[in-house]
């Protein structure tokens, strides 16, 4: 018994010593860091990296107070921001018979928001543009336009209820440039080109909580004039749209579901976005349209609006029998965003464009004798909605933030998997000052034989821009 008790005692003592020893080892692994620290001197310059020694300062007895007890923070009634930019694009012509061309744009964008009462918000976002372009015959064309991007008023009679009337732009879809689930604000932005900021006219009634938002929307004016205002002459009551949207954050997953009647057809979309592991985000979108407008129809509309000859329009219309009706159109996107380190992020997306041309349709379309006329203008300024002509694409982007000094670099590629056609963008941006940003963007098309970018307006263009924010 005694021997057993002795053994037990020795075992317990040995175990205790082991535990204490292990704790001491972990605690004293960097015992040099267990000395008292000094409070940071208020006057010390932390950016003087030559000096690692901190000086000690006393905590002031009469501590400075910068707010009265119970004081209320006053948000400014009017908040204002804006920017002005100058952008010039150089467009070399591959055809030796044509001259190189150029295009310049001076832009002023003003954004204002006012909250005269806690339940009322007024907002306005307007862009003015002066455009200058030199065509291949060296003729200078100029033009000025002013466009209303957003304007309206928003009422909040109770905290969860928001009623907005006006023109508004809000995108929650997670895709990079193309949003199959978003049928209300369809225009995305390619990097380095003129940003598309146009909203849509609506009456929105929303129930809003931090985790859940339910929107109901009336979309009365889908056609706008050159100023972005409702085109009342073209107003057709049959084109009035309605939509409902649900945004729900569920267990760290953003879920968006939208359903509506717009452009005289039924449309629906759903999306999700979440981090599956640290630094790796997964997102997806699905879009459905009962009867979609065909690329051929869009081209025909363009010809009608631009006053093309009746012969050309009739011959293009003759192609319609070769094209499928666009019914029950499904489009999908699945993507990953990987933040490798804080400065580098890579995005990769696969996109199925349900409205794109099939192989047969593409063959017929590209063989049309006056296709260059059709494409002129229609594809002149590539944006996210008219560069997806075929069906299957891979979209990749690499972002390098402040990789050197205050330089950002962004590499983007959109590759058509059916034909190997590719659109590439390289954008470099220098944050020259707190107000000023300089950027250079090179955009180029690679089009293999029988590739979808045979309609490209140019092989490549170089765009320089200087933006001043205020």
């Amino acid at each position: 018994m005694n021997w057993q008790l002795k053994s037990l005692f020795i075992t317990i003592l040995f175990s205790c010593l082991q535990i204490i020893g292990a704790q001491e080892q972990s605690k004293s692994s960097d015992t040099e860091d267990l000395e008292e620290a000094d409070l940071l001197d208020d006057m010390e310059d932390p950016f003087n990296t030559d000096s690692d020694k901190e000086t000690v300062s006393e905590i002031p007895d009469n501590q400075e107070s910068t707010a009265q007890e119970g004081s209320e923070y006053k948000e400014p009634i009017i908040q204002f921001r804006g920017n002005t930019s100058a952008q010039f694009s150089f467009i070399p012509q591959s055809d030796s018979n044509s001259r190189d061309t150029g295009r310049g744009t001076a832009t002023l964008n003003l954004v204002m928001q006012a909250k005269p009462w806690s339940l009322l918000r007024l907002f306005c976002d307007i862009t003015g543009k002066y455009k200058l372009s030199a065509d291949s015959e060296n003729a200078l064309n100029t033009g000025f336009e002013i466009v209303c991007n957003q304007v309206g008023l928003s009422l909040r009679p109770v905290d969860q209820l928001n009623i907005t009337l006006g023109k508004e732009r809000r995108i929650f879809a997670p895709g990079l440039f193309v949003y199959p689930s978003e049928f209300i604000m369809i225009e995305g932005n390619l990097p380095g080109l003129e940003n598309q900021l146009l909203g849509i006219w609506l009456l929105r009634c929303s129930y809003e909580t931090p985790w859940l938002t339910i929107d109901t929307m009336l979309l009365p004016f889908t056609r706008v004039d050159e100023y972005g205002l409702p085109d009342l002459e073209a107003f057709n009551p049959d084109e009035i749209g309605v939509a409902g949207r649900l945004l729900w954050v569920l267990n760290g997953i953003d879920i968006g579901i939208t359903i509506g009647y717009l452009d005289t057809t039924l449309k629906a979309g759903c999306s999700f976005s979440t981090y599956i592991v640290s630094r790796l985000e997964l997102h997806g979108e699905l879009g459905y349209t009962l009867e979609d407008e065909h690329l051929l129809d869009i081209a025909l509309n363009y010809l009608l609006e631009s006053g093309a000859s009746a012969l050309l329009i009739a011959s293009l219309q003759s192609l319609q029998s070769d094209f499928q009706q666009r019914e029950h159109v499904l489009s999908a996107l699945l993507g990953l965003r990987w933040q490798i380190i804080d400065e580098i992020m890579i995005s990769l997306e696969g996109y199925y464009n349900g409205n794109g041309l099939t192989a047969h349709e593409f063959e017929v379309f590209s063989a049309f004798p006056s296709i260059d006329v059709v494409s002129q203008g229609f594809f002149n300024v590539p944006n996210s909605s008219n560069i997806f002509i075929r069906r299957v694409f891979v979209i990749g982007q690499a972002n390098f933030q402040e990789i050197y000094d205050l330089f950002n670099i962004q590499l983007t590629a959109i590759i058509g998997l059916e034909d190997g056609a590719c659109l590439g963008l390289v954008r470099s941006e220098w944050l020259a000052s707190s107000h000023s940003t300089l950027s250079i963007t090179i955009m180029g098309f690679y089009n293999p034989p029988e590739g979808q970018y045979f309609m490209r307006p140019y092989d490549w263009q170089l765009t320089g821009a200087w933006k001043i924010s205020f």
Binding site: K27, E36, L40, Q63, I171, F172, V249, E402, K467, S469
Partner: protein
């Protein structure tokens, strides 16, 4: 004899446990006091961030932060002009940013650096250490407590942190941040203790990245606690409004 030894052991073990259990509430109180001062409930504040990159460039931001609590925070960039209008929203583990130039909302991650500097989003938007870390008192000196925080959840931004706390007023003086390999990632120095109404806290924090040598500074310009912030401020659909 054996009985005596056993009695001594039992008394020793009991006293050790009682000491440990007596220590925990005090540590909890210290950390709760720090959390409440760094991120009080229903606060609105204006902060200045300055980032020094290793190539010598300095970028500066002025930000308005509205917080319901550590899990529910909204940020609005006031300066520089090129970032004005950018917003961030934190709801629990999720963070989103609103990009005004394209009118879009994008989900971002907790560990990502805040405004391109050495403060992580978790350092600025979420100070709820008691929920995410286990605490141990490493050392008590004449003037300071040195406390170790070890991550107890996968959501914690750092595997381990070490805090130096002034015993006189409960203010943070210094903080070390470690990864799961024990690498010392960052050091934060605290200073310029000020009172903002009922809140007394360091108004200046300097974060040094021990790997890159880069330095970031945060200054509290104004802080108003106990504000009436509506829930709609923290609605995802209300970003950009």
């Amino acid at each position: 004899m054996i009985n005596k030894i056993l009695t001594i052991i039992i008394i020793f073990l009991c006293s050790t446990f009682s000491l440990l259990s007596a220590e925990e509430p005090e540590l909890e109180n210290i950390l709760r006091f720090i959390e409440q001062n760094l991120a009080p409930e229903n606060f609105i504040g204006e902060y200045n961030f300055k980032n020094l990159r290793s190539d010598g460039t300095i970028s500066e931001y002025k930000i308005r932060i509205q917080g319901r609590n550590a899990d529910t925070v909204h940020l609005y960039f006031l300066e520089p002009a090129r970032e004005k209008g950018r917003e961030m929203l934190r709801l629990d583990e999720s963070i989103w940013t609103f990009i005004p130039s394209v009118g879009r909302v994008v989900r971002v991650e907790d560990r990502e650096s805040f405004a391109g500097g050495d403060f992580a989003n978790a350092d600025v938007l979420r100070v709820d250490w008691l929920d995410q870390y286990d605490t141990t008192l490493l050392k008590e000196t004449e003037n300071q407590w040195i406390i170790e925080l070890t991550a107890s959840t996968n959501e914690a931004a750092y595997a381990r942190m070490r805090l130096w706390v002034d015993k006189k007023n409960g203010m943070l003086i210094q903080q070390y941040f470690y990864d799961s390999n024990g690498t010392h990632l960052k050091t934060c120095l605290y200073g310029a203790v000020k009172s903002f109404g009922t809140i007394i806290r360091p108004a200046r924090m300097v974060m040094k990245n021990m790997i890159t040598g880069q330095v970031s500074e945060m200054r509290v310009l104004a802080l108003h606690a106990g504000q009436n912030i509506p829930d709609s401020r923290f609605s995802l659909s209300n970003l950009g409004k």
